[in-house]
């Protein structure tokens, strides 16, 4: 193991984490809901696909709107940090498909099981987090150090 000290941003990342925790706290205590983004996206999608009403999805849709607007708010004060993608469109489509199926089957993602689940000491969430972290490490290992 070799740590990339030049890329290491502990303070910014800790600060970002605190903001994410604050946002999750607001959504929970303010609206009584768990800020799990997979579920926040899947629920209105299910309503649209099933021809149901979007009225009960209001809080989730506004949360999504907030996420989409965050870069605009950020750019009022600072340029967006660099974002680099090293894969092409077909690969990205495969990634999206796997993420979509996986978060529905496991009922949560990095926010719902990761942040919120671990914050409430859920064994179920810990099991899911270990599965997706393990698979994430293994996948990047395969791509970068076995297949490459």
């Amino acid at each position: 193991m070799n740590i990339d000290w030049n890329a290491f941003t502990p303070w910014a990342s800790l600060g970002g984490g605190l903001l994410i925790g604050l946002a999750s706290a607001l959504y929970l205590l303010g609206n009584g809901r768990v800020a799990g983004i997979a579920g926040i996206v899947a629920s209105p999608l299910r309503a649209v696909m099933g021809g149901g009403s979007l009225a009960p999805e209001r809080a989730r849709l506004l949360f999504i709107l907030g996420l989409l607007l965050a870069p605009w708010l950020w750019q009022l004060f600072a340029p967006m940090p660099a974002a680099t993608l090293d894969v092409g469109w077909p690969t990205l489509l495969l990634a999206g498909l796997l993420v979509g199926i996986g978060v529905r089957m496991g009922n949560g993602c990095t926010s719902g099981h990761g942040v919120c689940g671990l914050s409430r000491f859920s064994g179920r969430s810990l099991a899911n987090v270990l599965a997706f972290m393990g698979a994430g490490f293994a996948t990047v290992f395969l791509i970068r150090h076995v297949l490459a």
């Binding site: 990205l92 498909l97 919120c116």
Partner: protein, 137 residues
């Protein structure tokens, strides 16, 4: 007021993802690259979020209703089954391939990164595919 909490939560969450480095797929992959040039930063994102979240959920658990009077909807399931684990593995594989999980992909889309739109469309298709063909019956 409910609307204010909803949109403010999304905004602050998104700002946290940007500040923390999660909106850069290259940084996410550098975090997942344990055996290469490892960038442990994103562990600090998770740590910071949980440090606040622990107090929020401890407070939330004691409440019957939220500040705006809605019923608290905290998950109660304790079931650990194959679907939970296989779902996590599929998600983790997709996360490792693309460097995007759902939240950061939405933030990247908001910032105008065109490929993020492709990822999100594929993710929505994946969700529908799951619900149509792979959901528990």
């Amino acid at each position: 007021m409910r609307d204010v909490f909803s949109i403010a939560s999304g905004l602050i969450f998104g700002l946290g993802l940007i500040l923390g480095g999660m909106s850069d797929p290259a940084k996410v992959k550098a975090f997942l690259d344990l055996f290469g040039n490892w960038d442990p930063s994103l562990a600090f994102v998770m740590g910071g979020a949980i440090a606040v979240g622990v107090f929020a959920f401890a407070a939330g658990r004691k409440r019957e209703t939220s500040w705006t009077g809605e019923r608290m909807e905290i998950p109660t399931s304790k079931v650990i089954d194959t679907r939970l684990i296989v779902g996590g593995v599929l998600f983790g594989a997709g996360w490792g391939i693309g460097g995007f999980c759902p939240g950061p992909a939405l933030v990247a889309l908001g910032s105008g990164m065109a490929p993020a739109a492709a990822f999100i469309v594929a993710m929505l298709v994946g969700m529908v595919v799951h619900d149509r063909f792979l959901a528990k019956r």
